[in-house]
């Protein structure tokens, strides 16, 4: 970032909020989405991609990083523009900003990580319609300062990635006995008669795994229980 931009952005958050950069409220923006306000299990946003790419850990991690980048940058951009965007066409503006950022990620992945990009196929493109990005822009970045929006973007992307990686971890471990493509279940266990559960590799198990994660989370955190 150039010196000029730095000055500009620091000017922005000093003028908008005089509280310290990591005040309690700001920290909450980062930590809330990990549990109490998790984008996937509580806000029900961004499920589509969360499920489809969780067969293995590696694509899940790449996806998480892409979403972190897209969310943080789009939140910052929209937050900078928030007083200039006419209310009526805001959706289109959001879509343009998000799809340009996603196109950027797509091209970079295709250039430097072609295998993973092949594996993720259309799901990188689908970050555009990932409701989590859109949802946070609408619900947060449109009404808050730059620094807060940045934290909110990072926080939500981490909350999203956390579930993604958790699901991928169990699916890869139980489905193929590997983590990141490296075998972790030792051979003697296979010799004793253990077999990988091929069902975990099939798409329905992603849904059921998320269902179980929600079950665990809500029994621990009872205030999230729904009244039917």
């Amino acid at each position: 970032m150039s010196e000029k931009n730095k000055n500009k952005s620091s000017f922005f958050f000093i003028s908008k909020n005089s509280e310290p950069i990591f005040s309690k409220k700001n920290r909450q923006l980062l930590t809330d989405p990990l549990d109490d306000n998790n984008p996937i299990t509580v806000q029900v946003l961004g499920i589509c991609s969360a499920l489809a790419i969780t067969v293995q850990l590696k694509p899940a991690i790449v996806m998480t990083m892409s979403v972190i980048f897209v969310m943080a940058s789009s939140n910052v951009i929209i937050s900078l523009l928030r007083n200039l965007i006419p209310n009526r066409i805001r959706i289109i503006v959001f879509l343009v900003v998000i799809s340009s950022l996603v196109a950027l990620v797509d091209e970079v992945l295709r250039a430097y990580a072609y295998d993973v990009s092949k594996e993720l196929s259309i799901f990188i493109g689908l970050i555009v319609t990932n409701c989590i990005v859109m949802g946070r822009l609408e619900a947060f970045a449109l009404g808050n300062g730059v620094w807060k929006s940045f934290l909110d973007g990072i926080g939500n992307a981490f909350g999203y990635g956390f579930i993604l990686i958790l699901v991928a971890f169990f699916r890869e471990l139980l489905g193929s006995g590997k983590l990141m493509g490296v075998q972790v279940i030792p051979d003697f266990i296979y010799e004793m008669g253990y077999e990988d559960n091929g069902l975990m590799l099939l798409s329905p198990m992603a849904l059921i795994t998320v269902g179980l994660i929600i079950w665990v989370q809500r029994s621990r955190n009872t205030k999230l229980i729904e009244e039917n």
């Binding site: 946003l45 589509c48 929600i214």
Partner: protein, 205 residues
Amino acid sequence: MEQYLNLFIKSIFIENMVFAYFLGMCSYLAISKTLKNGVGMGLAVIFVLTVTVPINYLIWEYLLVPGGLEWIGPEYAELDLRFLSLIMFIAVIASMVQLVEMIIEKFSPALYGSLGIFLPLIAVNCAILGGSLFLKIKDITNVSEATVYGFGSGVGWFLAIVAIAAIREKIAYSNIPAPLRGLGITFIITGLMAIGFMSFMGIKL
């Protein structure tokens, strides 16, 4: 004719948007609380998919791929505009959604009222953009195939949301463990339904 029927059946059952690719899950989960809303949303998705997939196919084929612009003049044949595909597709989809919204508001204010904020959400329904993006991966070679594919995927999505909405209406009377109520059980049911849909795999007409 046979290939169209094949593609149609395949896009509804075997490659069901929801159960095989998890596309459109957000609205699928959010709007499936009552059957009535589910049906409305499903119909809107069928319509938007049937319209946008062939349009995006034409855009892809005649504007974006290398050689696609040849109809303007031979000097444009070299241009490769594929990196613009996301933005083009989403623009078509957003304008189509706007159109559907206006049509529904005019002809069925009751439906408009009950769908409310969910209509704009169709624009960010991954099933719609997914349908267009899948054009590149699946072997779709002409406009009629693209139309059949769009319609079939829409019907598949409709089927899925109607089924889950009906189940959720019934399940309200069941005794589910408290932490699993609502979202959790819906996920698990969808998973079980997806396993059911897997039995269609390999069917060929």
